[in-house]
């Protein structure tokens, strides 16, 4: 995920996160799937995932008996805080993990989920590590 964000910089990257939920509702990510940012034109501040890539991700989850838990994307030169664009397009249930890449050495990651009022709450990341 971080590798994708750094490689794609200064454009936004995106992909899917798969895994399981334990009995306490903790989400354990077991695999990620990198997909193309299908946003036409300037990709430095926007991302889109094509419907066909979405269909494949749902099928992949079903085949592997995993849950499609969410989406990751990067915010090049911006903090890992969801924008209004993110909030308006966000789906219930999904975790939205954002990788902030201020430059190739300054990276931060936060994860968010919509609450019942359709506002983002931050999710706690546990046992989370990344290397560059």
């Amino acid at each position: 995920m971080v590798e994708d964000a750094v490689k794609t910089f200064p454009d936004e990257c995106c992909g899917f996160m798969f895994g399981v939920e334990d009995e306490d509702g903790n989400r354990i990510i077991t695999e990620m799937l990198v997909v193309d940012n299908s946003k036409p034109g300037d990709k430095t501040r926007r991302f889109e995932i094509s419907p066909l890539d979405y269909l494949k991700a749902e099928q992949y989850a079903e085949d592997k008996n995993w849950i499609l838990l969410g989406i990751y994307h990067s915010h090049p030169k911006h903090p890992a805080i969801p924008s209004e664009h993110d909030r308006k397009a966000a789906q219930p249930y999904f975790s939205y993990t954002i990788i902030s890449v201020m430059d190739k050495d300054t990276i931060a990651i936060k994860s968010w989920r919509l609450n019942e009022e359709e506002q983002f709450d931050e999710e706690k990341l546990i046992d989370f590590q990344f290397t560059q």
Binding site: P51, Y54, L55, L68, H73, K77
Partner: protein, 95 residues
């Protein structure tokens, strides 16, 4: 009956059911059948005017109904309909 595949984020509104069967003969009636049986789906599928929301894509196989007959697109016994949420977002406009 035709099959509708519910995307993961909306399954909490369909009793965690991923695949539903519908009797409807076209897409318009399919959506109404779903929102009648699962009323909490309505605000996620339809706007205030009762039209399919712009953030929602409906596919038959790999074809977007916008490239077919839109909501009038016929649904047969073996049709598989996918509801696909638009996935998008991005950084704020101002740094």
């Amino acid at each position: 009956m035709a099959t509708v595949i519910i995307p993961t984020p909306l399954r909490k509104f369909t009793n965690n059911t991923a695949r539903l069967e519908v009797k409807a003969g076209n897409i318009h009636d399919t959506i109404r059948e779903l929102t009648t049986n699962f009323p909490d789906l309505k605000k996620h599928l339809l706007n205030e005017k009762g039209e399919v929301r712009s953030f929602v894509n409906i596919f038959i196989g790999n074809d977007d109904i916008r490239n077919l007959q839109q909501e009038k697109t016929a649904v047969k016994e073996d049709t598989v309909i996918s509801i696909i949420p638009a996935i998008a977002g991005g950084s704020p406009d101002q740094p």
